[in-house]
């Protein structure tokens, strides 16, 4: 290694490679794309919207860049590259402030780790990274102008700051102004104090003037806008790593300046700075590692860096969260077997996993065979997530009703989703499909026109354009045919899930999915009366034998209420009868001790009996905690 600078670059490159690989194999940017429904579009309408408010331009740029997250390998490369560039520009901006590289070996690569760690959260919006990249580039530019002009008064900083305010928004403007201020600090004199006062004044004035006269946003947003005003960000919990990321650039710069101050190794007069040439600067920076002690120090710092990185990963990386997103992703791709197998890997109950698991059973025709393979701890609230209605359930609800063939409801929730996830390819596709199914071709064309402005969706658009141009093609498409056949009855008051399901079954008695969900609903609600009533719909369906979950329910209800005539005539298989006897024996042996009985019957945890006795919310009193949304009336 010839110089410390080269060595530092090598470390940065190594960290970039690590970031790339980790992102590729452990993060998967296509999950970000899926979860956030990143959608960049061509056209003036889209562009004009984003240039109409501070921070919008960076959002536009981010959408353009992060649309490539759909390809994991490209996305991982972009994440690694952005971290590298931010580190490089920060390094280039601050290295004139410090002669020794010791601190640099620690602080510069740690930026890359932070930029990777934020990606562990799938709600993280990449615009934050892009904005930090914008700041780092402009800091470098600002510093270059500083050095070249040697001017004490930083008018250029104000101009660049205003530009950043418009491109990135209030928070990034403040970060830039603060960082530039710290970097501009020199030996105190009158001009220096005037410069500080000027930067501080403008740091306050620019957002205030923008608030007062230019943009109708709130004062808080004018000063501290840091994330896009998109509905997905409402759910972003702003974890500690988010604040660490925002603070990273100014903190590194402060550390650098403090380090320089204490070591008293940066004592250049104004003239010296002014007269320094580029070659001198480079020479000045490239001091070879001089002795064995320094090598130990550097090695120690790298060790600390790796330890800190590990600590950051420990705090932020959650394979479980990734798995949940993967389940959602696979559900959207209709990889139902994967959904079922992945759900089994989730140890702690999760309502959305439960919901997707149930959807997977619905789409593979296994609801009444495997319903209790996942703990249905919220009962029927894991089947239907309409209530309480919250923004995050809009699209999954649309998906479920689409599965069931209730296109009216699917469309209703797709509209709600479209409000929250503007231009989302998934939502637009759903709207197009629903409109085609409902034979509303003009509206389908409107949505398709918007989707066609998304470069990632050209193939899909091409396919469904043909459906719209030639409704005959649509009419012969198997999916469209099935959904049209399953469509709900279109008149009546269907306020609750069972009524919606019944309306569908009455329209199409062969809608097996609707029937199984109806029965599952009765079972999960312990609603014996409705179960008996709803059994009548079974006759139109081709069940060769009674599904095992139904057998379990019938034998249980039969054991509890002997008078149920209808249930008594249903034949239960010997295997189920035998298992039930064994279960009953184990529970009786516990002599009323519920916990003991639960332990004793744990082998039966996939049965309806276990659900009724130990897991059902009617027994556990488990309540769903969600925040309902405001309603628009």
């Amino acid at each position: 290694m010839k110089s410390e600078k080269s060595f530092l670059y090598l470390i940065m490159v190594l960290f970039s490679v690590f970031t790339f690989l980790f992102c590729l194999f452990a993060v998967d940017t296509s999950l970000h794309y899926h979860y956030q429904q990143i959608a960049w579009q061509t056209g003036n309408l889209f562009f004009n919207y984003y240039i109409s408010f501070p921070g919008g331009f960076a959002e536009y740029l981010t959408l353009f860049i992060s649309q490539f997250f759909v390809f994991n390998i490209v996305g991982s490369g972009l994440v690694a590259l952005s971290g590298f560039l931010i580190s490089m520009f920060i390094f280039k901006s601050v290295y004139t402030k410090i002669q020794k590289f010791n601190l640099m070996f620690f602080v510069v690569p740690v930026i890359q780790i932070i930029m990777l760690a934020v990606m562990f959260d799938y709600q993280y919006n990449f615009s934050i990274t892009v904005n930090l990249l914008v700041i780092s580039i402009f800091l470098f530019l600002n510093n270059t102008i500083d050095r070249r002009t040697g001017s004490i008064l930083s008018f250029h900083t104000i101009i660049i700051g205003i530009l950043i305010y418009y491109i990135s928004g209030g928070m990034y403007f403040l970060i830039f102004m603060f960082s530039a201020l710290v970097l501009s600090l020199k030996k105190p004199d009158v001009k220096m104090i005037i410069n500080v006062l000027m930067i501080v004044t403008f740091a306050f004035l620019v957002p205030f003037i923008a608030y007062r006269f230019l943009f109708p946003n709130s004062l808080n947003s004018s000063f501290f806008h840091s994330t896009p005003d998109v509905a997905a960000m409402l759910r972003y919990g702003r974890p500690m790593i988010f604040y660490v990321e925002l603070a990273s650039i100014p903190v590194i710069i402060i550390l650098t300046v403090i380090s320089a101050f204490f070591k008293k190794q940066v004592k250049k007069s104004k003239n010296a700075v002014k007269n320094r040439t580029k070659s001198e600067t480079a020479e000045y920076a490239e001091i070879p590692i001089r002795n064995r002690n320094r090598k130990f120090i550097v090695a120690g710092l790298i060790f600390v860096l790796i330890t800190v990185s590990g600590f950051i990963f420990k705090l932020t990386y959650s394979p479980l969260e990734k798995l949940k997103i993967e389940i959602d992703y696979n559900a959207s791709k209709q990889n139902w077997e994967k959904v079922i197998s992945m759900s089994g890997k989730i140890e702690k109950y999760d309502r959305m996993v439960n919901f997707q698991f149930n959807r997977a059973l619905l789409n593979t025709g296994q609801v009444l065979d495997k319903l209790f393979d996942y703990e249905q701890l919220l009962g029927s609230q894991g089947l239907f997530i309409d209530k309480p209605f919250a923004s995050e359930v809009a699209l999954p609800n649309s998906d479920l009703y689409f599965d069931l063939g209730n296109i009216d409801e699917s469309q209703r929730f797709a509209f709600e989703s479209e409000t929250l996830m503007k231009n989302s390819p998934r939502v637009l596709k759903r709207l197009v499909l629903n409109c085609i199914i409902m034979d509303k071709m003009d509206a389908a064309q409107t949505y398709l026109n918007i989707l066609s402005a998304n470069p990632m969706e050209k193939k899909w658009v091409e396919k469904y354009s043909d459906f719209i141009k030639n409704p005959g093609i649509a009419a012969s498409d198997s999916l469209i045919m099935k959904k049209r056949n399953d469509m709900n009855k279109t008149e009546g008051i269907f306020g609750s899930p069972p009524l919606k399901l019944i309306s569908q079954i009455e329209k199409n008695p062969r809608n097996k999915g609707a029937f199984e969900y109806l029965i599952a609903l009765d079972l999960l609600d312990h609603d014996l009366t409705s179960l008996e009533e709803d059994f009548k719909y079974m006759g139109s369906l081709d069940y060769k034998k009674l599904p095992v979950v139904l057998e379990e329910a019938v034998i249980l209800f039969r054991s509890q209420a002997k008078t149920k005539g209808f249930l008594n005539i249903i034949r239960i298989s010997d295997a189920t009868t035998k298992r039930f006897r064994e279960f009953a024996k184990l529970t009786s042996a516990s002599k009323g001790d519920r916990e003991k009985a639960k332990q004793a019957t744990v082998d039966f945890k996939n049965t309806y009996w276990y659900y009724v006795l130990f897991l059902s919310p009617k027994v556990t009193n488990l309540k769903l905690e969600t925040k309902p949304v405001d309603t628009n009336y």
Binding site: L45, F415, E416, E418, N449, E491, F494, V629, Y633
Partner: protein
């Protein structure tokens, strides 16, 4: 020197050649007897002389296109090129139509295929002599029913394509802003509501902005649907307990219903609301509208909702009651169009400024017509007491909220006729006898906008000019605490409505 002259000459020739290439009409063309297929449907219209250019897209197949727009006087407009999107310069358009009031406006469309030009049948418009109010306000909102995220009230200059926000809800932390209303289309007197965060009613009254809370102990809710008295002082409101139901009726996604509703009148000077037992009954009085002289309130009324189904399958009659805001004296109620007689529901009454006509929506049930594709506009002659369905402006899709121009010669209204889902604003001429011209959609700079725009133009209201108060000032007023209004102590009824929850 010589070479310089030559260069200038060449440049000039190229430039002239370029201009000719751009604006020349084909010399030889085959005549087609059919009108060209264009979007939006801008054919055979009566148009205001101050309307923005009617930009359109030629939907006919072609490699090149040419358009000539001409009238009796003034310089014709020539546009040609490869782009079927025809965007007319505002200044050229203005000159041409403003110098041809009352005359025909001819639009000739040419399309070239395989080097052969076709000239389609000339589109003929009539340029009316009467202007339309120069501004339009509306709310832009997504198609959702329950959720919202971004929304705002906007004003659009109808003489060009300028659109600017009156308020966007990001100013009020994402709250809902709705139900804006003006006094006689006067931009100096307007109001709107803010729901959820920073709740209240913001009233702009000739330079003064104030936010009031219209819910009192004696009213069942905050004020909802409002109508300014032409005196510019009083605002009539309904107060409603609203709910939504989904997919109740065939092909209708949503039904908005009220369990209760009453009428109130708010005095902007005394900050007091009043009512009468006659308009605060167990029946559901709703959607007030003042007569042209400001001494009569039109409204709709449905019987008491005893059950879910009676709430849903309600039919509203068009009613009226004399009311003098100066003396606070109420007359007797009168039924203008009875739901029992029509078998339909009457809603959204809007009176023409000359007091001769009242336009309302007629639908199968309820009053909130935007989701009713059977909803049609009807015109009621206030002199003869007769109404008719205005078939000349209706379509198979929803026709809903409407607004008159101050001269009474233009009606704008909401319609979903373009794609069946998204609400757009249409403009129609109306003559002195109450006959409408063919309606046309609000022109846009990009004529393709409606084909790729998912926001709905909600509650369009014409305005005589621009609202000259900045969005920043409106934001500041909106974020203030609302001033509570008082309830008229002389109203001797027990909390307005037999249906209301009473606190006295």
């Amino acid at each position: 020197m010589k070479s310089k002259v030559n260069i200038h000459y060449i440049i000039l020739v190229i430039f002239i050649g370029f201009l000719n290439a751009c604006n020349n009409l084909p010399r030889d063309s085959a005549e087609s007897a059919k009108l060209p297929d264009i979007f939006p449907d801008y054919t055979d219209l009566t148009i205001p002389p101050n309307i923005a250019p009617l930009n359109f897209i030629i939907k006919e197949p072609g490699e090149k296109f040419a358009v000539r727009i001409s009238s009796k006087a003034g310089k014709e407009i020539l546009i040609s090129g490869n782009d079927p999107s025809i965007q007319i310069r505002v200044s050229q358009w203005k000159k041409l139509i403003s110098s041809n009031l009352g005359e025909e406006l001819n639009v000739e469309v040419y399309a070239m295929n395989d080097e052969k030009w076709t000239k389609f049948k000339t589109i003929k418009h009539r340029i009316a002599k009467e202007n339309i109010d120069s501004y339009l306000s509306y709310r832009l909102i997504n198609s959702a029913y329950v959720l919202w995220f971004e929304m705002g009230l906007y004003q659009r200059n109808l003489e060009n394509f300028d659109e600017s926000p009156i308020i966007e809800n990001k100013s009020v932390n994402g709250a809902c802003v709705n139900c804006h209303s003006l006094s006689k289309n006067n931009p100096e007197k307007f109001m709107f509501h803010i729901r959820s965060k920073f709740a209240g009613t913001l009233i702009y009254n000739e330079g003064e902005l104030e936010k009031v809370e219209t819910k009192t102990d004696y009213t069942l809710a905050s004020a909802a649907y409002g109508a300014w008295n032409p005196d510019g002082r009083h605002i009539a409101f309904s107060v409603n307990k609203i709910s939504q139901n989904f997919y109740v009726f065939k092909d209708q996604s949503n039904e908005v219903t009220d369990k209760y509703s009453d009428l109130i009148v708010y005095d902007t000077q005394t900050k007091m609301i009043t009512t009468s037992p006659k308009v605060s009954t167990k029946s559901r009085e709703n959607l007030p509208e003042w007569s042209a002289d400001g001494k009569y309130i039109y409204y709709i009324s449905a019987p008491e909702a005893n059950s879910d189904s009676s709430q849903l399958i309600s039919k509203y009659s068009l009613m009226g009651i004399p009311y003098d805001p100066e003396t606070n004296i109420w007359g007797e109620t009168d039924t203008l169009v009875s739901a029992f007689e029509t078998g339909k529901s009457q809603t959204f009454p809007r009176v023409s400024p000359d007091g001769k006509f009242l336009v309302f929506c007629m639908t199968n049930y309820g009053y909130f017509t935007i989701h009713h594709n059977e909803s049609d506009l009807c015109i009621y002659d206030l002199e003869t007491g007769k109404y008719r369905v205005a078939n000349e402006i209706n379509s198979s899709e929803t026709e809903s909220y409407h607004s008159w121009s101050t001269n009474g010669r233009w009606l704008i209204f909401s319609s979903r006729r373009i794609d069946g889902i998204h609400t757009r604003t249409f403009i129609a001429h109306i003559d002195e006898q109450g006959n409408f011209g063919k309606p046309f959609v609000l022109p846009q700079k990009d004529p393709d906008k409606y084909n790729k725009y998912l926001l709905n133009f909600n509650r369009p209201e014409l305005m005589t000019g621009r609202i000259n108060v900045s969005p920043q000032k409106i934001r500041d007023a909106a974020r203030q605490d609302a001033i509570p209004v008082t309830f008229d102590p002389k109203v001797n009824i027990n909390a307005l409505s037999g249906a209301s929850k009473i606190k006295k």
